[in-house]
Amino acid sequence: MEKPIIELKQITKRYDDGFTALENINMTIEPGKFYSLLGPSGSGKTTILRIIAGFTDASEGEVWFEGKKINALPANQRKVNTVFQNYALFPHMDVFDNVAFGLTLKKMPKKEIRERVVNALKVVQLPGYANREISELSGGQQQRVAIARAIVNEPKVLLLDEPLSALDMKLRKDMQYELRELQQRLKITFIFVTHDQEEALAMSDEIFVMNDGKVLQSGTPVDIYDEPINHFVANFIGESNILPGKMVQDFEVQFVGKSFECADAGMRPNEKVEVVLRPEDLDITTPEQGKLVVKVDTQLFRGDHFEIVAYDDDENEWLIHSTNPVKDGKQIGLTFEPEDIHVMRFGEKETDFDARLEQYEEE
């Protein structure tokens, strides 16, 4: 493991009115990676960003940057730069002066400023826009100027606070590619705040899923998608069928009144659990061959797949993604592999969860 560039140690943020925005946050950020803080609004992700940038003080806990504690270091001396949600470009300056702002404060020679600004504008694909007024730019262009203004200072870490949320769908997709590409080219650490799970999954090396001021789970997008720790994460990341069940023994789980072979273990016998099945892991077959039999209720054409809603005999709703359409009202069979079943314990902490996963995966 590389030496961490930022460490948050037991960070808690409480406001004067008693509201706790963050509770015991621990985070280790390694250099050169793309991190996402993912969670619904009000989950505290922007507060973490503000604490790292130095706009807000943590009530408790320590912020470390490159092996030094920086709690008392003012924002203007931290080697991080921020891309703000509403871009926060200076309206009384043109594009050049906005991008050059940080460099002029450092009293850099004019010629070098010019070179670096032109270069930064090239990186964000806005060459020749230097003398535009901010008010003349579209949302997407303002976004790029904000990124150029941050990266021109060559920060070690770039903090991005929902920078894509104001853009339309198409532009957002384009910018996702560009941001990811930019991060890999510049080899800067990105910490990206978003409430859009698709965005986080697509771009990140590592995701921190947050809710109510706590980090619920952290890991690679694939880990989090395949093995969500609890109901909230499973529901928030991607679409899922979540059912109550019972762990009969290791590698055997019971739900909708039947027993299935599964890939999870390390729980008490007959422990009550929740079972996650992703809609794309369910394959449609004949009722005779299916492990489950459901009746199709409605289906929607989503372009690349059909989204089918079906009900079993116990009135449990099933969401299925299929490349082929089915007939409404028809009985169909569903099959899935043991690995497609993911079992979640109630109230399990992330450390325990990871330890359990490691334990039975080694066996």
């Binding site: 706009f55 203007n76 926060a88 009384h92 702002f101 535009r132 003349e136």
Partner: protein
């Protein structure tokens, strides 16, 4: 169609009513007769007396100097006042300050003038240029606060964070982001304070001493002694002066706007080529 006509007649009527007294005054400034009863013939005589009147010219200069100084100081104090009010975190404290500010705006000049007179005499401050300057600064500050505050409130706190984030100290944030952003408010505050000071009669009348008079006070005392057409001539000169200022401002504004527009078009054309 008919509605448009009625409204334009109304507009014309309003402007005639507003401007008629001024033009009437200017018209008689060229009167040979010496009073405003009957126009007997054209003359420049009153203008000649006006420009030969050393005392009057001195008073005009005094008035301008007073307006300039008082509005400059008031702009400085008022701008920081507005920043201070906006920086209050509790809403109640903020609105209390704002209300206290507004009370000064609406309280009658006579009251302000009288209270200043009492203050100066009880403190033993001699009445004259100094006392008038202090009171003009005092009644101009609330005006500046009122005109700067909306601009300060418009300032997005994220802009200040952004400046800090890019390495700006508190002073640099203030001088490079806050001040340029609220400059339009500061300018309108300054000009408003300037015209209020030029205009003021009541407050000045109370706190001015023997040796010092502003234009308003002087015209009042002369008008009381009987109308001299020199006043008419002075009014005409000042009216033309104000007119030139307004028209000049209009053309400067137009010029800078078209230049900006031109530069914009230029750039767009330049960008579209590759």
């Amino acid at each position: 169609m008919k509605k448009v006509k009625v409204s334009s007649i109304y507009l014309i009527l309003v402007f005639v009513l507003l401007y008629a007294p001024i033009f009437y005054l200017i018209f008689f400034s060229f009167n040979q007769g010496g009073d405003m009863n009957q126009f007997t013939g054209f003359t420049w005589e009153h203008y000649a007396t006006l420009f030969a009147d050393q005392r009057m010219i001195q008073i005009v200069l005094n008035t301008l100097l007073l307006a300039l100084l008082s509005s400059l100081v008031a702009t400085l104090v008022g701008t920081f006042g507005a920043l201070g009010i906006a920086a209050r975190k509790q809403k109640r404290l903020r609105s209390t300050f704002l209300t206290l500010n507004n009370v000064l705006m609406v309280s009658p000049d006579v009251i302000i003038g009288a209270s200043f007179l009492i203050l100066f005499t009880s403190l033993g401050i001699s009445l004259g240029f100094g006392s008038v300057l202090i009171s003009h600064i005092a009644f101009s500050i609330p005006i500046v606060v009122l005109l700067v505050l909306p601009k300060v409130n418009e300032l997005d706190p994220a802009l200040l964070n952004a400046a800090q984030d890019l390495g700006a100290t508190r002073w640099q944030t203030f001088s490079r982001v806050i001040v340029p952003f609220i400059t339009p408010g500061i300018f309108s505050g300054f000009f408003m304070a300037f015209t209020y000071s030029l205009d003021d009669f009541a407050v000045t009348f109370f706190v001015t001493g023997n040796g010092f008079a502003t234009l308003a006070v002087e015209i009042y005392s002369r008008a009381r002694q009987g109308i001299s057409l020199e006043i008419n001539a002075l009014s005409a000169v000042m009216f033309v002066f104000a007119l030139v200022l307004v028209v000049g401002y209009y053309f400067i504004d137009q010029y800078s706007r078209t230049r900006r527009q031109k530069r914009k078009n230029h750039q767009k054309a330049g960008v579209m080529i590759p």
